[in-house]
Structure formats: structure tokens, C-alpha cells
Symmetry: C2
Subunit: 423 residues, 2 copies
């Protein structure tokens, strides 16, 4: 019996799915290992920046009140009573007509309230003392970076779920995060189905192809921020398959199967969901490729039934699995970032359904150009090597023409998009 | 004595540097670990794709010569003599007026040269045999994907040095790379200098700041594709520092120091290069920030003297260290990708030198918009968290205005730019 499935729109599928999307737990890693993870807590400034009034220049710290009557023709002679290297402090109060040599970044000594830049004065040595001649009046606060002027203690500098890039690592170090709270990566199981599949190490056989989806999905899982756990291939025997899925669910946070979700004789997944008592959120999406993509839920765990077709599998992962991973990682923007750009080649296939085409984004004349991968049969395989985006081609047209404005999902982006902004 | 340094242009500095840039060795990892590495050899198709003539549809394989006289009104009855599931083959030659049920992707049986799609015929059961009624004439080759039509055996599908993304992993699996040749990541040592530096775990002290550069650079090294080895902070004692650098060079492929590269009293690096007998390629670059960035070479190893100023350190790394890492990884395009975009805010500072400003790229109306980080003092710290680009502002102007067209270096990009295209 061929089951009849009602296709739903992609947006509706994502909406249904995101209702069951939950954040995971927080763990800690040493700061050296923080890069490339996601912040498990907001990053908070633990102190004012600067932490003390400091000199932005190499020069001489002085008291502005000493310079009130100074002019170019009536310069003031100040005695240099000390030198402050980076990291050291001057431990006495600077008195009338005194100055202190100060390095960039050093703390302004007590008594001083301005800095004269090094290149503006010429030091004079007289009888074992050093003096400078100041030829201008200084305002109180001139050439001083004040405590807290960059950032006040307690400010949130990056939100929970932010991708930890080198800039964030610098902030984590500045604010004393020797151990960094990060979102724990979910573990995602992968089971490949298809009796035509050979493992990557096997020699080719008539009628068979090597299993590429499992390894592709492993990489997509890592790119999205999760940890893959490859559980191997399904057997051809239903009871064994059912048992494989049941056991897999104990080991993982989410489970992906590739293939076996259609309505053919060899497609066990629909029956497995049924016998598991899983709640099928959807099993047909009005999109190409990947219309048979199925998502089900069992005991709080999501099961993603991706198509066995490589492009459908790829697209199904990015549309449906990635936002679930990003939510688990506490990302504020769990959806993939979208940008408008120009279609780089004709795409003549008409289609009633929305199409998500793997493509390659380049930059031309200040804009994005997205070219579909594998339009031309003779490069269908190699063009995949370059795919870094999904080109969104809404259904109901007779195809698209080079130069059309299209929406592009940027797969290498780490900032994402809020759920509410998607549409 | 203050040494006089002659500044050279950024392009000249990169050109000098790249002359000493050499590729590293190749190693192998299991395909499960290949993602995010760089191909150590070109990826070659080890077989034709498809590997056999196959059916792109669910349907019936048949012999076109049987259908020569068929019309809608004079249909032909074919006996269905077998069924080919995915991965299985039909082991006899199909004879006159016979057909075979065939699944998508399965191998076309001997004798057949066309496929009739499933939805075009209605099977009939008669006396234990199954028949189909074909109502049109078929061309030889109709609805068949021919061996090699996607890719021929021996085709190079991705060049050496390509960043291994999920698409490339799929190709590696398809072509049997159970072990993947990858470029070995260079090990890059980091020594931080500056007596004002506290380690990230230390409480704040008057006049001191926590060392953020080392951890920032660790992250930049990982992002660029190399392995960081943090060797700690310099002592305040010259002989010890010299010894630290000498010992470090035995352990690493390249060495980065942060700070200590100016001409001040506490800047030991120039003297260390001298006593090492290192060949200083340049020690002043006509750029802001980071004009004191120094690169030297000793016994085939490059020593990068980055500034202690965090933004100068960041920029110096991306301009000079990253292309050396990418060359080591065999990348065809070792330079950072550049794109044109719109400046997202005024940048009023005039400067005689080229400026590289950390910024945040967004996409608006099909184009790139790059906004400088930390223009406004009150967000100088937090804006760093978003930096994903360097905005290139050529020198010799009175500043730049929002809306100006500018060149943007995309730091999260993995495709890069050829050396010869840079300029």
C-alpha cells in the first residue's frame, strides 16, 4: 500500500520543528580550547576598561594646573622625577612643576591629570637632573584614557550562544575567563540505509555505489557545531533495523538516518517510526530536493529521516537539522543567514515547489553572485566541491534566468538568523 | 640609540615574505576526520560516474527496438521478467518484448537501452505473469544515465590545498578515500612579551592588564589552519629571552612573538634578531595599525614579531602569518579573499598610511556592508566580538565617509586569493 502524504511548506515544517527545539547544557573548557565553540553564558566585563586612568601615548605625565600661564614664548620647565614602564606604577604623588616619563598604556601617577606627547618636548639634563620644557597649556584630562571609558564593569559583550571567534577569545582573556563556559555539543547519531551502498573502503561492484552521504553528513554535523557518531549501515532485515534505531536513541541526542524514508518496498523508516510510537512531525515537504524528508519525535529526541539522494540529504540537513543544533548550542540566531544576491547562471527547470540548490557564492562589484552547482552534467560532481550556499528558488515559476535576484543561504556563516525574522 | 627604520608598502612586505614561503608535508587521516583540513593531494575520480549505465527513474527497463511501431492506439505488451532493486543486478539478457522493473539508480540490465517511467504504464497481472502496456516509441538511450556522463575516471575534482568542506568529503567517500591525504598543519609557537601582562587567571593589579594577545593569536592560528603552541611570556631578562627564542625555534615551524618589537628600552626583539643572526625581511610597514611589524628568517624558519597592541597584533597576523600558513598547507590561493563593499560608517581619521580596520560585514540589498569595529569608544571592546573582516582604507586621504566603496578582506573565508591577483 502506498501511503498518501500531504506536503507542507518549508516554513511550516521549520516552525513545527522549532517548537520541539531545546537548548542543551553548559560545560567548561580552558581558554586555549575555546575557539570555534559557542558561549554557554553571556560574556561579561569583570572590570572597567581601562581599569585605571592610562596614557594612550609615550610621553610625560604632568599637572595641568602648573601649565595655566604657559605660552610658546613663556615655556615652563618641569623636573622629570620618575619613569613608568608598562606594567609598573609611580608610587609617590607628583608635586608642583614635576613630570613623570610615562610609556603607552601605563597608569597615570597620582597628582597628574594630563600627558604631554614625547615628540612635543626635548629633555634637558642639568646637574644630574632631567627637565622638560613645556610650551603649551594643558587641559585637565588631556591625553588621558579614563577608567571605564571603553567598557564599564558588568557590560554584556557577547550574548550566550555566540560563536567564539578570535575577537571573543581576546575578550575572554581580558576578562579573566581562564575556564570558558561553552555550550556542550549535542551528539548526533547517523545510520545509513540502502542495500546499494558500499563502504568507502570497499572495491566497486556492479550496481552498487559507495556510501558518501554518511561522511558528508558527519562533516555537516561538525560544521553546524555538533559531534557526529556514525553508527554504520542498516541491515536489510526489518527487525534488526528497528533494533538498531532503538539502541541508537539511547546513545545520542538526535538521530539522523539517510535513505529509506520514501514509500517504496525497501523503505523501512515509516514503519520504524510507527512501531517506535514516534510522533511524526512531517513526512512530506513541498520542496525540491528532499520532499520525503521526515522528522519524528520519540521520548524527547528528534529523529531526522533524510533522503538517500545526496543533494536532498545535504539540503534536508541544512534546513532542518542545523537550526536544531544551533538552538541546542544556545544560539540566539539558530537559522542559517540569508542574503540577497544575483543568480550566476540560468536555472531553466520549472517546478511547482520551492527549490534549494547547492551553489557557490562569489563576490562581484560589491555584490553576491550565486551559481548553482552541477547544472551541467559534465561538472555535476566536481561542482559540489565548491558548494558553500543554498540558493532559494521559490516554486511556481518556469525557471530562473542569470541575473535574477535570489535569496542565498550562507552555509559557512556563523552568525545565523533569528527564527522570527525568517519567512 | 633609536634605530631609524624605513617603512615599506604592505604589498612589498607580503611579496618579500612570500619568497620564503614553502609548502609542508602530507599526512593521512581517516575520512571521518578529514573535514576542516586541507587536501594534501588533488582529489581524483577513481572511476567513472555513473560507474554503470543506470536508471534515473523508477520504472521499467526495455529494448527500444521492440517499440519501433508503437503508437498510442497500437500499444505494445511487454512481459515483466524481473525486478532490480537498488544495489542488485539482473543477471540474464532481456529478450524480445520483455521488460524489467527497475528502481532509481539501479543498473540497466543487458539487452535494454531505454527506461519507461513508472507513472506512464499500468501493470497487468495475467495467469501469474505481469505485463505492461507501452504506448509510445522509445529512442535508444532514452531515460538512461550513461557511464561516465557526470565525471570521467581520472578527472581532478578539487585541487591540492583545497579546504575540505562537506561536499569534498562526499567526493572523497565516493572515490574510495578511506584514508585522506591532508596537508600537515604547521606548528606555530607563541611567546608573549610585556612586563605589564598578567596571565588570564591572575587577579588584576595596578598598572597591569591581562594578556589577551596570546589567546587571540592562538585562535587566529587555528582559524588559519595551523596548530598553536603557547610557550608563555618572556622574562624581563635579555639573556633569558634570547635563550627562550632559541629553544622555541627547535620546537616549531614558525615563531610568533607579540610585543617588544618597537624601538623602546623594553623592546628586546630587534636585539634578539641581531644576536641570532636572523635575516630581517622588514621591520617597518607603511600601515596602521602595526607599522612596527617585523619578519625575520633564521635557518629556514620565519619569526614574526607582531606588535603588542591588540589591533596591530590581529592585523599583523592576518596580513603576514596567514598566507604563510596557507602556503604551507598547499593552498593555491594563500592570500585572504577580498571583496568590494560599502563602508557602513564614517571613518574620519586622516592617515598617510594604508589602514586595516577590523570590521563586521553584513549583507544589505544584495551587497556587502562593512562597519568598522570600535570607532565609538563606548563600544570599542564589544565591537571586537563581531569582527569578521579587515576593511582596507588606502592612505593619503582625509578619512572616509559612510557609503564609500571599500575593499574588504573576508577573514572567515576558506577559498582565498592567488598571490598574483593581489595588488
Amino acid at each position: 500500500m502506498v501511503e498518501t502524504r500531504r506536503p507542507i511548506k518549508v516554513e511550516e515544517a521549520i516552525e513545527r520543528l522549532m517548537k520541539f527545539s531545546t537548548p542543551g547544557v553548559v560545560t567548561h573548557v580552558p581558554i586555549e580550547q575555546a575557539y570555534g565553540n559557542f558561549l554557554g553564558e553571556p560574556l561579561i566585563a569583570d572590570h572597567d576598561v581601562p581599569f585605571f586612568n592610562r596614557s594612550p601615548y609615550d610621553g610625560f605625565a604632568l599637572r595641568s594646573q602648573d601649565t595655566v600661564d604657559v605660552t610658546r614664548n613663556e615655556p615652563l620647565k618641569l623636573e622629570v622625577v620618575g619613569e613608568i614602564g608598562a606594567g609598573s606604577v609611580h608610587d609617590t604623588v607628583v608635586g608642583e612643576n614635576q613630570a613623570v616619563r610615562i610609556m603607552t598604556g601605563a597608569q597615570i601617577p597620582d597628582g597628574c591629570d594630563a600627558v604631554c606627547m614625547l615628540e612635543m618636548v626635548e629633555p634637558i639634563d642639568e646637574a644630574g637632573h632631567t627637565y622638560i620644557l613645556v610650551k603649551k597649556k594643558f587641559r585637565s584630562g588631556e591625553n588621558i584614557s579614563f577608567r571605564g571609558e571603553d567598557t564599564k564593569q558588568g557590560t554584556e559583550l557577547a550574548s550566550r550562544g555566540s560563536y567564539i571567534n578570535p575577537g571573543i577569545v581576546a575578550l575572554l582573556a581580558t576578562f579573566g575567563y581562564k575556564q570558558v563556559p561553552i555550550s556542550q555539543r549535542p551528539t548526533i547519531g547517523i545510520i545509513a540505509t540502502g542495500s546499494e551502498l558500499l563502504d568507502v573502503g570497499e572495491p566497486l561492484q556492479p550496481g552498487k555505489i559507495r556510501n558518501s552521504n554518511a561522511y558528508m553528513v558527519i562533516s555537516q554535523i561538525i560544521r553546524a557545531g555538533a559531534t557526529p557518531l556514525y553508527l554504520g549501515q542498516f541491515s536489510d532485515h526489518f527487525a534488526t533495523c528497528f533494533d538498531q534505531v532503538k539502541r541508537a536513541l539511547d546513545k545520542v541526542d538526535f538521530l539522523i538516518t539517510t535513505g529509506g524514508v520514501s514509500v517504496g518496498d525497501y523503505d523501512y523508516l515509516p514503519q520504524i517510526y510507527k512501531e517506535l510510537g514516534a510522533n511524526v512531525l512531517f513526512n512530506k515537504v513541498a520542496m525540491r530536493p528532499g520532499s520525503v524528508t521526515t522528522v519524528a519525535k520519540k521520548d524527547g529526541k528528534l529523529l531526522f529521516g533524510l533522503s538517500g539522494n545526496p543533494s536532498a540529504c545535504y539540503v534536508g540537513f541544512e534546513l532542518f537539522v542545523r537550526p536544531i543544533i544551533r538552538t541546542y548550542l544556545h544560539c540566539v540566531n539558530p537559522l542559517t543567514k540569508k542574503a540577497m544576491g544575483t543568480l550566476g547562471a540560468d536555472f531553466p527547470k520549472p517546478n511547482p515547489f520551492d527549490r534549494f540548490v547547492r551553489g557557490h557564492v562569489t563576490y562581484k562589484h560589491g555584490g553576491l553572485v550565486a551559481t548553482p552547482a552541477g547544472l551541467d552534467k559534465s561538472n555535476v560532481v566536481s561542482s559540489l566541491a565548491k558548494a558553500n550556499a543554498l540558493i532559494v528558488l521559490p516554486g511556481g515559476t518556469k525557471g530562473y534566468t542569470e541575473g535574477d535576484q535570489v535569496q542565498i543561504m550562507l552555509l559557512e556563516d556563523q552568525e545565523g538568523l533569528q527564527v522570527s525574522l525568517d519567512g
